[in-house]
């Protein structure tokens, strides 16, 4: 493997890692609309 191939491989790996990070981060920060637990279930629920 020549230097260019190695560089391309490293660059590809970086891009994939970055895309995975962005996807995980989006999921972590994604919000929702949550209905609170019914009161009878809140204690010891």
């Amino acid at each position: 493997m020549d230097v260019v191939t190695v560089l391309l491989l490293v660059l590809g790996l970086l891009v994939v890692t970055l895309a995975a990070f962005v996807a995980v981060q989006r999921r972590r920060r994604a919000g929702g609309v949550i209905a609170a637990k019914p009161r009878r279930l809140r204690r010891g629920g």
Binding site: Q25, R28, R29, A30, G31, G32, V33, I34, A35, A36, K37, P38, R39, R42, G45
Partner: protein
């Protein structure tokens, strides 16, 4: 898209609130972003918000924002008095927000108490001034008022039981379904007034 109904109330979809910055009035600083909108169906109002730290690279915050600490909910920001408004989980009203819930209601089925399926929840409609939960935005079921797959707004009673995967609403809500957010506040008032009349007639 938000709307002002005939009654001048600002109605917001809960997903529009999610992602808004939480801004301190005292120093004008944005302290966090809203993550989850937590509401209590039994009380018919918002309980509070969970939050993300500011900046895309940062994750969820441990502290939560109870509705009692919110000064105003606007189209572009959630306002709090100062940066101390956010409370650690497990303390006071924050415990209710952080206690978790029956899960994200978006995607849940809506059934009437007469056994008719109305559609799937796509959002929850909130009155910005009071934090009251007024209704659900639905993706209408195939044979519902000939609005297959369309977005509809369904008023809900001020107290409601929610559990599992299905949300129950009274069958009497069906005639008050609207296909536009403007005027929805008035439809909710009419529906709740009719419910109250029905209750007093039964007594």
């Amino acid at each position: 898209m938000s709307a002002r109904g005939d009654d001048k109330r600002l109605l917001l979809r809960a997903t529009e609130i999610s992602g808004l910055p939480v801004v301190s009035i005292a120093d004008g600083e944005a302290v966090a972003d809203v993550k989850d909108v937590v509401y209590d169906p039994e009380r018919g109002g918002l309980v509070g918000f969970t939050m993300n730290k500011r900046g895309f690279l940062k994750g969820p915050m441990k502290a939560v924002l109870p509705i009692s600490s919110v000064v105003a909910i606007g189209r572009d920001a959630v306002m709090v008095a100062d940066t101390d408004a956010c409370e650690e989980k497990g303390s006071g009203p924050a415990a209710e927000v952080s206690a978790g819930g029956v899960g994200n209601v978006v995607g849940n089925e809506v059934l009437t108490d007469a056994g008719r399926r109305l559609g799937k929840v796509t959002d929850v409609v909130v009155a910005a001034d009071s934090g009251a939960v007024l209704g659900y935005e639905l993706e209408g079921d195939e044979d519902l008022q000939g609005h297959a797959g369309q977005r509809l707004f369904l008023p809900i009673p001020d107290t409601l039981a929610v559990s599992g995967q299905a949300l129950m609403v009274p069958a009497t809500a069906e005639p008050f379904i609207r296909d536009d957010l403007s005027g929805f506040g008035a439809a909710v008032d009419e529906f709740r007034a009719e419910l109250a009349r029905g209750r007093s007639n039964r007594r």
